[in-house]
């Protein structure tokens, strides 16, 4: 009896160990490129191109970082990216929240139609949208401005955020709102004081999606901006790898600098992110 229980427990432990090992392998797969990026960026140029490769830099060198931060426009690109991404996030999330609430509470008939339309908008290849966008922004005088780029980012991030929040707001019970209405609260009060606080995880998740999409966006930023005062980090990185020389070391260092803040941000909100996904349309 005890023996078979021990065997059983051993088996369980073995099974658990195998499963845990799989988790570790998966995590290694996910993280290895980041590790390789960081470790390569800390090498000296000669070691960077060495083969057999070294996993830990023989001498840790900040040379590439120094170059990137002092000699390139990296800090400015970084600020631009941050401004555009934050602007996009605020505008998109606010508009999506309002729109989604309106659809869920006032225009239910619209929702399936809109959902299709949005899906369709999402389908359209972005390469082709670039020229109409360029001409449109030119007409309103916003080519080569952060505002213009932000508007274009809002346009392609809004559909997803809206659709996501429609799903989320559907889960908020109507009864709470009705109770407040009986107490004499106005519609806007209900929205601001009841609906928004209740859907915080969903809003945070939508905001994160928006932020990441804007932060990573490349094609629009490439075509719609040329001045360094306006360009974002993706385009700045593109400049580093082309041309007469491929500045691999600088590329690796600035990539690390781009990714680390996003990772830190993830770390801060990862609980919220999971909650947001659970409650939202992606149930």
């Amino acid at each position: 009896m005890t023996r078979s229980r021990r065997v059983y427990r051993l088996l369980r432990m073995g099974q658990k160990a195998v499963l845990n090992l799989l988790v570790v392998l998966l995590a290694v797969f996910a993280v290895f490129p980041l590790f390789w990026l960081v470790t390569s960026s800390l090498k000296l140029p000669a070691e960077l191109y060495k083969f057999p490769v070294t996993f830990i830099p023989q001498t840790v060198s900040w040379k590439f970082y120094e170059t990137v931060l002092t000699l390139t426009y990296f800090p400015r690109y970084f600020t631009n990216s941050l401004l555009v991404a934050l602007g996009t996030t605020v505008a998109t999330t606010a508009m999506a929240a309002m729109g989604a609430y309106s659809i869920v509470r006032y225009h239910h008939w619209l929702s399936s139609l809109l959902a299709r339309a949005i899906l369709f908008a999402y389908l359209f290849p972005r390469i082709l949208l670039v020229i109409p966008f360029f001409i449109l922004l030119l007409q309103i005088g916003l080519v080569n401005t952060r505002t213009g780029l932000t508007i274009s980012h809002v346009v392609f991030t809004l559909p997803f955020a809206l659709w996501f929040l429609v799903g989320y707001f559907k889960t908020i019970p109507r009864e709470i709102e009705d109770a407040a209405r009986i107490d004499g609260a106005s519609n806007i009060t209900i929205f601001l004081r009841i609906v928004l606080p209740l859907s915080r995880p969903g809003l945070v998740a939508a905001a994160i999606f928006t932020f990441i999409n804007s932060w990573n966006e490349f094609l629009f930023a490439l075509v719609l901006t040329t001045a360094k005062d306006v360009q974002t980090i993706s385009v700045g990185l593109y400049g580093l790898v082309g041309g007469e020389t491929m500045e691999w070391g600088q590329m690796l260092a600035s990539s690390t600098l781009v990714i680390l803040p996003v990772l830190f941000f993830f770390l801060l909100i990862q609980r919220n992110l999971a909650e947001g996904l659970t409650g939202g349309a992606i149930r």
Binding site: A30, F51, A96, F218, L273
Partner: protein, 311 residues
């Protein structure tokens, strides 16, 4: 901050009445910005593009004339177009299959009592923080045949004698691109499926266990019905992303070697931006749009998404 609604009676009459008037029309006011943006995004550029696809518009000329379906005839009789369509299919199906399998497997693995769950979850979403341009260059760096770390590891493990040309050989380039895309995309599947799994009440599992369900039956009858909708929606979203993604392939392989990894957006790019045939490029994009509409219709049928949507 005083809301413009009726609960602050001390405001003067006119403002208050205006507030009430607006408040009563909140539903309309709230949807207005969205409608404007959708019109801006949808109607204007899409209609423009359809129209351009019917003209001989060239980036290097100002004037253009209407040519009817000529661009479509050109595009559809081009052998390269059909090769590209096949590549697009392989790229999409391959990427999504592996993203889904890895995401689902990972989610099932993490949906247990585990120490440091937050840490694993955190580590696994790392690929998500990578902008496409960084993905392309980091992987080109890793996969390089001369000083790439992957070839080094494979050689140390004696799996290969000579470095493999991951991105340079006709046979390996597409699988490699799919592999890189899997790395980037599986965390999204994983997180969403994990969230769906964690929403399944424990009682459901217990009930199944009491009935003596096996692992597979548990998955089939308890788990899958609860995550079907999630999987379907993510598949739809990711399909669009994967089919449309241009920078990813362009920066990784440039569509090569030969045309081995050329997908529709890359083909459209070369036609429109390097050969300046804007009309023909638009026609390619419209064909691409058709493919996407068909495939999302297929998903909607397969996962019965519209039913859930109506709920």
């Amino acid at each position: 901050m005083a809301p413009p609604g009726g609960i602050t009676p001390k405001q003067n009459g006119l403002l208050r009445r205006m507030g009430q008037y607006l408040d009563a029309r909140l539903g309309f006011l709230f949807i207005l910005p969205v409608l404007l943006v959708v019109a801006y995004l949808l109607i204007y550029p899409v209609v423009t593009s359809f129209y351009i696809s019917l003209t001989d518009r060239n980036l290097l000329r100002r004037g253009y004339s209407f040519v009817g379906l000529e661009n479509y005839r050109q595009v559809l009789t081009d052998r390269e177009m059909w090769e590209t369509l096949l590549n697009t299919g392989a790229w999409t199906i391959g990427s999504l299959t592996f993203q889904l399998l890895l995401g689902l497997g990972g989610a099932l693995l993490l949906n247990r009592r585990m120490t440091l769950l937050w840490l694993w979850r955190m580590l696994i979403i790392v690929p998500w923080a990578f902008p496409p341009i960084v993905i392309a260059f980091v992987w080109r760096w890793i996969l390089n045949d001369l000083y790439g770390v992957l070839n080094y590891l494979l050689m140390v493990a004696r799996l290969v004698d000579v470095p493999l040309l991951f991105l340079g050989s006709r046979t390996l380039a597409m699988p490699t691109a799919i592999g890189v895309n899997t790395w980037f995309g599986f965390p999204f599947f994983l997180l969403a499926i994990l969230a769906a799994l964690q929403a399944i009440p424990d009682t459901d599992y217990e009930a199944a266990r009491i009935e003596g369900a096996s692992g597979w039956q548990l998955f089939q009858h308890v788990i899958f019905p609860r995550i079907r909708f999630t999987i379907g929606i993510i598949l739809v979203l990711r399909t669009m992303w994967v089919v449309n993604s241009f920078d990813f392939i362009f920066l990784l392989t440039g569509g090569g070697p030969g045309t081995a990894t050329q997908t529709l957006p890359v083909f459209a790019y070369f036609t429109g931006w390097r050969r300046y045939f804007l009309g023909r490029a638009s026609a390619i994009c419209v064909v691409l749009l058709g493919v996407l509409v068909l495939s999302s219709w297929f998903y909607f049928r397969l996962f019965q998404l519209s039913q859930v949507e109506e709920e």
